[in-house]
Amino acid sequence: MDATNITSPIQQNKKLIGFFAVASTIFAVVVVLGLLLTMLGNFVIEGVPGLSWDFITQAPRNNNQEGGIFPAIYGTTLLVLTMTMLGVPIGTITAIYLNEYANPNSFFSRLILFAVNSLAGVPSIVFGLFGVGFFIQFFGAGLDSLFNPSKVIWGQPAIIWASATLAVLTLPVVIISVNEALRSVPVSLREASLALGATKFQTIWKIVLPNSLTGILTGSILAIGRGAGEVAPIIFVGAVYSMPGLPNKLNDQFMHLGYHLFVLSTQSPNVEKTIPIQFATTLVLLLLTFVLSLTAIIIRSRLTKQLQG
């Protein structure tokens, strides 16, 4: 540092470069945070006036141009709950295998990790095509031809297939966060349990799982947050623009907050008129996903703090 006291032109130049280098990184942070705040600010300012008790509890009227969005909230909630029931057990068991049973260097466990990473990278629209090709055209239509050849019951877009599609999409999220949680359970706990004569599964069931419950919860929350916001995979796997009543069977179609926003903002005949509704819908969708993600981030940071002591 003392060397800089003798200031030659070259060193001054370097100082200038250094200043610009640091300034550019700070500028980048300011731009990114500015974007985030602009988006949030805009949605809150424009969205809050449209929010009301009626908006949340009423059905849309007049071709979705008036009224509330209750069916969309209901459909989204039902969708992510079914998704969680399908995806979280599978993800948790996979994470248990990777962390408790598999040798991390074995070909099989590396193959699983590779598959999980690949799943995480597949574009969401491809999951939608998979939902059509596999769940509806193969699985659903197969069920129909087996049990009731004359009718179409399962071989059509439905909430169960949309949930299954989203469960596949969010599987990597669950696996990765549960895996993290399992890893954070101290080895000494497992060793103590095994030393006391418990079997491997007893140890997992009674010691490891209860100690990683928060992690499993975080994984589920992250998956729900992700699943609730995905629109592309469900456009043609069961989401509809409007429907009479609410979905009450697994093979019903459903309304969805994100799809509702998409249709209102791009495909409705009178886009300008529904802009307040669009902002309010955005706000509800954001509240749903952000509150969930924020909870997950907070739980996770508490968890890491606990680990670090």
Binding site: V29, L33, M39, L194, G197, Q267, S268
Partner: protein, 343 residues
Amino acid sequence: MNKTSLLVKKENRWFETTIEFVIKSVASLSIILIFLIFLFVFRESFSLFQSKNSTVSTQVYSAPKVYNPESGTLKVKEALKKESSKTSITVWDTFFDSVWQPVGDNPKYGVLPLLIGTLKVTLIALLIGAPLGILAAICTSFFISAKWRNIIKPAIELLASMPSVVIGFFCLIIIASLTKDLFGLDLRLNALVGGIGLAIAIIPIIFTITDDALQTVPKTLREASLALGATEWQTAFKVMLPAATPGVFSAVLLGFGRAFGETMIALMATGNAALISMNPAGSVRTLAATIGAEMGEVIWGSDHYGILFLLGSILFLISFGINIVLEFYIKTRLLQKIQGKVG
């Protein structure tokens, strides 16, 4: 660990093996799913490769009409008119043409404009998103206090949980008007607006992975550099960043993959006209947006349906290819760089 099971009663051991088998089978589901995804997405485009006499399913799935916000007109659901599968031209004749016009009496399935459009938007997104994400990661890693880091990092991660339909909506309403006024563009929705939207989506990805990569560079490198009299910025840009290159590269590659396959933002913000041009202010139609827009009104089992699944297979293969590059090239390079050459 398996030695403990010797002490266990026989029936318990039987139970343990069964459980382990079940768990292992469920775990292998991820591998099976990757295969199934490719198999079933590709399978639906099989009809394209077969002779033309196959019967076309008559199942029609109705979706809302496509509204074009530019002209304010409703596009008639032309897909409902009979898809011309009886014509003698096969889809392959027009596959490498420069026109994508899947509906009408004489459908043209030229993929070129879609491919070029996708690359154009992705490039714009990377040009905006990659520098911002990488520089922001350098800033939070080296130039600010831990207190600020603990605020900024979760905030940028929160941006990652923003649903893409919301980002698309933001582009449609705010960014589109902003760029139109700022640059005096003719079209509200264009490649630039879409690129900005995709950049918002990939910044958190690039930021998080670059940040992770910078954190895994051994602290000793930084200390050595500072001890030799280098300043903080010289250390960050000339020592730490080069050491983390493979990580930064994988961050950019993952960002590319996300932008390339992103549907809702592209669908809502790019204008969706399948044109070949290099003009960043022109309207483009991406591969993913094409699937998203047309899948709803297509006749299930038709040529058009098959082509859309073929586009899906292309998207799948590209994302899978990116992952293979990451797995087999970057991860080994990263290890070499940290353990071998540098450490």
